[in-house]
Symmetry: C2
Subunit: 678 residues, 2 copies
Amino acid sequence: MTQDPLVIFTPSGKRGRVPAGTPVLTAARQLGVDLDSVCGGRGICSKCQVAPSFGDFPKHGVTVAETALSPWNEVEARYDRVRGLKQGRRLGCQAQIRGDVVIDVPPESQVHRQVVRKAASAKPITMDPATRLLMVEVEEPDMHEPSGDFERLRAALKDQWGIEAVTAGLPVLRKLQPALRKGEWKVSVALYQPVHTEEFRILDIWSGLHEGGLFGLAIDLGSTTIAAHLTDLTDGRVLASAGVMNPQIRFGEDLMSRVSYAMMNPGGDVEMTRAVREAIDRLAVEIAAEGGVDPGLIVEVVFVMNPVMHHLLLGIDPVELGQAPFALATSSAMTLDARDLDLTSLNPQAQTYILPCIAGHVGADAAGVALAEEPDKSEDLVLVVDVGTNAEILLGNRERVLACSSPTGPAFEGAQISSGQRAAPGAIERVEIDPATKEPRFRVIGSDLWSDDPGFAEATKATGITGICGSGIIEAVAEMRMAGLLDPSGLIGSAEQTGTARCEPTGRTHAYLLHDGTAEGGPRITVTQGDIRAIQLAKSALYAGARLLMDQLGVDRVDRVVLAGAFGAHISPKHAMVLGMIPDAPLAKVTSAGNAAGHGARIALCNRAARARIEETVRRIHKVETAVEPRFQEHFVAANAIPHASDPFPDLASVVTLPDVHFGASGGGGEGRRRRRG
Amino acid sequence: MTQDPLVIFTPSGKRGRVPAGTPVLTAARQLGVDLDSVCGGRGICSKCQVAPSFGDFPKHGVTVAETALSPWNEVEARYDRVRGLKQGRRLGCQAQIRGDVVIDVPPESQVHRQVVRKAASAKPITMDPATRLLMVEVEEPDMHEPSGDFERLRAALKDQWGIEAVTAGLPVLRKLQPALRKGEWKVSVALYQPVHTEEFRILDIWSGLHEGGLFGLAIDLGSTTIAAHLTDLTDGRVLASAGVMNPQIRFGEDLMSRVSYAMMNPGGDVEMTRAVREAIDRLAVEIAAEGGVDPGLIVEVVFVMNPVMHHLLLGIDPVELGQAPFALATSSAMTLDARDLDLTSLNPQAQTYILPCIAGHVGADAAGVALAEEPDKSEDLVLVVDVGTNAEILLGNRERVLACSSPTGPAFEGAQISSGQRAAPGAIERVEIDPATKEPRFRVIGSDLWSDDPGFAEATKATGITGICGSGIIEAVAEMRMAGLLDPSGLIGSAEQTGTARCEPTGRTHAYLLHDGTAEGGPRITVTQGDIRAIQLAKSALYAGARLLMDQLGVDRVDRVVLAGAFGAHISPKHAMVLGMIPDAPLAKVTSAGNAAGHGARIALCNRAARARIEETVRRIHKVETAVEPRFQEHFVAANAIPHASDPFPDLASVVTLPDVHFGASGGGGEGRRRRRG
């Protein structure tokens, strides 16, 4: 047999003939197979484990005269003794190909392995992080050919990994000489390649093989909450997730009050910047502790956030964002040293990537949603709504994507609601009202039981029933409408008109009693006329934004709707549509994406190419400014009814029938509109 | 006349025809003429002043029907009223070409003007700084086509100056929005382009036209002294020069004692780094005050220094430089943010450039010397010696350049000399001894009079006569040899042997009394046998280094010798050769270059291309390590005599005749060598 052995790699299917005696790792590299290695084939890191799956293989400890792979060698035997090698596995750098063979590369041995999300609808992330761990062996210095240690490290990276154009900052140069000598001229480096460059930067260095891992943070910096995910940069696993309140709340609940604070108080922006940076740094330390990770091993941070938070994090006065024409200081994606943001607890050379902003009202958070949901790759026309104090709205398909922001206000988050509260244990989150008896039942966060289930009182004893959160108030309003307690204009009927004593008079209007906890020392939870008005304003703004984009695109139907945002995950599509929050769509086509902005941050953290991709996508997204579009005001006014007159809602009609009740000559919506305009 | 007018620019001689009505600045740009402009032709900056020198010109206030240039316009008239325009000058952006014309671009209107050095031998520096001031007019934001202010600034730089790939750090982004609005969308930017890149970085931004200038520091960071030159980056003028003691002296006089300090004291290197960085920052503030410049307008700093200072400035433990194989952490040139070196008083975005090191003993200071003296461009074989505690030696021509460092010790700087002192007022710097009478005369720093001139006592009253500095001891030793007070082995004769009572016995040897100031309460200044030995050791090391390079190159003569270094400037070539410090060369071919290392720093500061050039030169310089060359020891031993036996010194013989005296059976040199080896 004079022909070279044939090797076939699975799952890639890549194949080729290599000279007998070629190590599997070498063959994989030659054939472009995605097989990991940190130590560069020195039998140290064990990242290149493979599973020969077809051929004639040597067994451990058994010598077979004629086999497709070389017998187990001492390196593999020692590794197996010390750490244990899974049944059927070989080290790719040690096993040599001797005959025709099929070799499987298990997912954990692939550099570009895929990370599957928990949410069923979600697409997997392909690992391709900007920072990788590599081990190299550096030549010792020679007095007769003097060269710097760093220059020889650079030469080693080129020779052993084909990597050129490498730089290093002072913190790394400071560690370099002791690390090289302690590691007997073998060192591991965390090698980072910023997006759009051919250059690499060494972020850290360790003697020998660094086994402590490399980590990143994906941060969704919201006006109210800062949420972070600690991610293993080698395999994409989320080791810990944590959220803290944005401490800027003390300067103003919503974004515009923070902009006002900056305008009214000289140095106010600096104060807010300091507060948020300190909170993020503290959060990083906490989440690292929770994940059992040294915060010094966090080498990358990716941020998504709205434009005002974007400027306040960067230390830019957000005053221009508070007035037309809402000019951003910069809209481009940014790569910064983490220490420029005072994130001093991370690795001293840690890098941050900030997703691009789309417009003055449509921030990097919307870019994160676009990266996660990819409306620009959708075959059908998709409406993506990220519900928050400002709703970011994306509409489009692979042809064209439009974006806008709509000022929904904080009602959807439970604020400005009489019994409203943030989504926390004890908050009513689901509501049903019997159309016949007009009696409610509900669920509170912290228990899976309904209020009329046996054991409910016991189950909610610890938390109590403290108020109603955003998803709860939406369901309550929609259920009130379906039960005939509310007319299309949003007016709550009296006890006489509705036939239930739960509709109580409060001044000149009525309120619906959802729960009376006074006997147990708890609150009376009602839905007041004012609550209905607040929700009407919010949903009208959301709907008007979506309609405006539909006008611009010249469509009056969308194929599907994605509700994003932590809050979006908890909204019932049916209730959202009864309320008229979103345009009509088949109910089965209204899905929830969870925290899509945060997921976009995770994608950008784990996949360097995604950074270039979202930057390009954002450039192509067409921005629509709601604040100056007369059509937005028209849609807003027309959308006040529940559901509103401007949309036929045929899909909704197939699911629910809304009672034809009318409790007054005029709706209170006019009042609300006037308030808003003022 | 249908042909377009012909325009000829002087001094470049560039010429071409342009359509009638073309502004002179536009014509200059089209023809590739070096005509400055900061405001981009808006008649604001006046940098584009030209002097029409041949043609038919309009006079100010006089209308001429047919002229080669358009009449004075309102912009020029206003400029002349407010600031005054020199006779015969026009603003290049305002004056339009109407007929054939010769236009002179005066030096101050050239971007790449040449800066002439004070030293007669020195080559001029061509201005081409890495940082330039440019003014742009930025488009106002448009809500319907939202884009960031920075993105529109970038577009303006591209449209108006053809500059692409521009980035800006947070301090600039912070100032951007107010600057644009205050300047009514016109801003000036300090645009920096690092060496080797196509990218630009905005270091600072100002509303409207910035008239405060841009400045740089060239710093020669010596073991003993830190010297800085404050330079105007637009025209290369040195506005102020200042020097301070290196505060690291308290950790060790010479470099090796500082390395020892770092080895013996944990954290000692950090302490020394902090000390030197603080001193530099303070020096920057002082020199800015002296130059009448806001330190915040200092945007660039260029450093030259020896390898130990290099590491200590960068915060790298220099321990490896204290032991073979003398490995540098990094030898490459470096571009760093000034704040990474804690230079916090400068512009927050100020950039530093550090010249490359040649080897573990041959630092960025030697690279500075190579940049200033350009041995690699020399037709004849040149020996460049930078004399200091370590002498850096370069030998070569355009074919090949060798470099080494030689441990001369501090004797040449007046240290370890019995009456030695640093070069300061009151120090004896020149010495002559009458060969007949053996009587000395001398000069001290601070006065031009010789000690036997009338009025000398009066002139030196303020300073006194306090000791002898490096150049003084060299002259004293050489003069003693020429006057027959010293034999070739370096032994001082007795009063009997020499015939002068100034040769006094001190223990088993003799000393020569140079000056007795005891009557006035001053010191007795003598040259002792120990002083002679110290100078012999130093000069032997220097000579051996030069000879080693000559061996490597296979030559036994050099065409010329350049003495560099602050000290080198004060050495008399004749005395240096009598002493045998340098190999024999025609006396007329031994010149002084002043502080060549510091001048190299100034060149790199003013000319970006010089940075790439010296990096390339350093790569091609062949390094020779004296510490491990047996030939170095041989040359060192053989070079002990004054002048030494291993060199015939024919050129010297034509200038001086050395008396054939012998005062003892053996020279004391053996003692010195033993001491050194121990």
